[in-house]
């Protein structure tokens, strides 16, 4: 899957977690803009892992602060 396809998939996966319908851009942060708490992060990460059949370890998650970084990480991890 290329970046555009991955981004589209993640955009649909994030919907149920984006309670305030925050507009998404690569710079949208999970902690501040989307206000994800640790439980939301766990459920959201699990949804992405299951969709793409990948593991995003805590170590990798620590490097991911915004939406664009997540899309990049998933693109990289699925290869």
């Amino acid at each position: 899957m290329d970046r555009v396809a991955v981004e589209a998939k993640i955009a649909s996966l994030i919907e149920p977690f984006n309670k305030k319908n925050v507009a998404l851009s690569d710079a949208t942060t999970f902690a501040d803009d989307l206000e994800f708490d640790s439980l939301t992060v766990m459920d959201f990460v699990a949804a992405i892992e299951d969709e793409f059949d990948i593991i995003i370890s805590m170590n990798a998650q620590a490097e991911i602060e915004n939406y664009g970084q997540l899309v990049d990480a998933v693109v990289k991890l699925q290869n």
Binding site: L39, M42, A46, E49, D50, I55, M58
Partner: protein, 400 residues
């Protein structure tokens, strides 16, 4: 200059907010005197202790106390040294022997606390390129052990066998894998389906570590924990435990049948670079562990206490952490921190101490009044406790 303490401002505000309502600070209680495993004097008042993890009531056992006094006389107040230098006394070896017998395992390694046992074993065993797969509700000491090491850390949803299976299946086949589970999860007092989970871990070629801190002494026919109770202890590679709960003193340990286990004594930094336990502590622990092997009557009585309290609290309309009593911990779920603190204080005024647990220690941002029962609680004390909960819960408006 940036004040390094500014990061604590939100917590300072939460705390000030709570205290401004006039409630007693739930995190600065002092036990002025301790009368027995189940009673102390707090704020000048006799108080029943229902939040101590002193499951088997060994803290005042006469044989345990005597062993400690004797060791103080014979070996002095402390070792002033590391286990690998001048800090291994006859008593340290003796308590490791007692643990090997208690669990029927080949190796035992004693740490200065349970926290350090997890910190040391996890960070040392799982290194760069290895994977740790663990339950998201794991204890802080497990998370800190992960953080101290260099392994890839992969959490899964609490007690979710399928989620664990999927994650293990995605890890490269030749990578080292360590699955970390707990027998009893201390916040809600629920147990893990260890038999099923360990079978899945083994299917993927993972080693398994089980923290039995809250089950040792109480669960299983010989008090070895939840894995023994579910008949899968022989499939557990490493059992982590503590002396600060059922054993009734302080210290931590790991027992294992791994043939190379002893090498950890040389490479495990939280074992090497700290002072060993005082002689009196290891003497009390060894005596207590040997007595726990024969604690069947106490185990049965503790189960009775747990069932009686769970049933009564549920009938009164309290929301509990588990549908059925699963351990010696009963967690009463509070609507929020403020009501939780009010209820905690009302119970204290009744003469009952429980733990107030709040995020981030609790799952799902819950505020909990956590009750841990003791084998030394009499049936009458349990009835008294039930009455206290009823009065306090009605006064605060938590039950109708």
């Amino acid at each position: 200059m940036t004040d390094l303490f500014s990061k604590f401002d939100p917590l300072i505000a939460t705390r000030e907010n709570l205290l401004s309502t006039g409630v007693t600070d739930p995190f600065s209680l002092v036990m002025e005197r301790v009368l027995s495993p189940t009673e102390a004097i707090c704020n000048g008042r006799e108080t029943i202790l229902l939040g101590t993890y002193n499951y088997m009531g060994m803290t005042f056992d006469p044989d345990v106390i005597e062993a400690g006094k004797q060791a103080l006389d014979d070996f002095g107040a402390g070792t002033t040294g590391s286990r690998v230098l001048n800090g291994t006394y006859a008593g340290h070896r003796a308590v490791e022997e007692a643990l090997k017998e208690f669990y029927g395992m080949d190796h035992a390694m004693v740490f200065s606390t349970g926290y350090q046992a997890n910190l040391g074993i996890i960070s040392t065993m799982a290194g760069k390129g290895d994977y740790i797969v663990l339950d998201i509700d794991s204890h802080a000491s497990i998370w800190d052990g992960c953080k101290l090491g260099d392994a890839e850390v992969v959490p899964f949803k609490h007690n979710d066998i399928e989620a664990m299976d999927k994650r293990l299946g995605r890890i490269p086949e030749d990578a080292g894998k360590l699955v970390i589970l707990e027998g009893v999860y201390s916040m809600l007092g629920d147990i893990a389906p260890l038999k099923e989970m360990i079978a899945v871990a083994k299917k993927h070629g993972a080693m398994v570590l089980v923290d039995e801190a809250h089950s040792m002494g109480f669960m299983g026919p010989n008090g070895r924990g939840v894995a023994e109770d579910q008949g899968c202890l022989e499939d557990v590679d490493f059992v982590i435990g503590t002396f600060s709960k059922s054993v009734g003193t302080v210290g931590g340990f790991c027992v294992s049948n791994h043939p190379k286990f002893e090498i950890l004594r040389l490479v495990c930094r939280p074992y090497v670079f700290t002072a060993s336990l005082p002689p009196s502590v290891v003497a009390t622990a060894a005596t207590s562990i040997r007595k726990l092997m024969h604690g069947n009557n106490k185990r049965a009585h503790l189960w009775g206490n747990s069932k009686a309290l769970h049933k009564a609290l549920k009938a009164m309309g309290f929301q509990l952490g588990t549908e059925t009593p699963q351990s010696a911990i009963i967690a009463v779920i509070m609507p929020d921190l403020e009501l939780g603190a009010m209820m905690w204080e009302a119970l204290l005024q009744e003469g009952l101490y429980v733990n107030l647990a709040r995020p981030p220690a609790t799952p799902a941002n819950m505020t909990l009044l956590r009750c841990s029962l003791c084998a030394e609680h009499t049936a009458e004390q349990v009835q008294t406790i039930i009455g206290m909960f009823e009065r306090a819960g009605t006064a605060i408006g938590i039950i109708g």
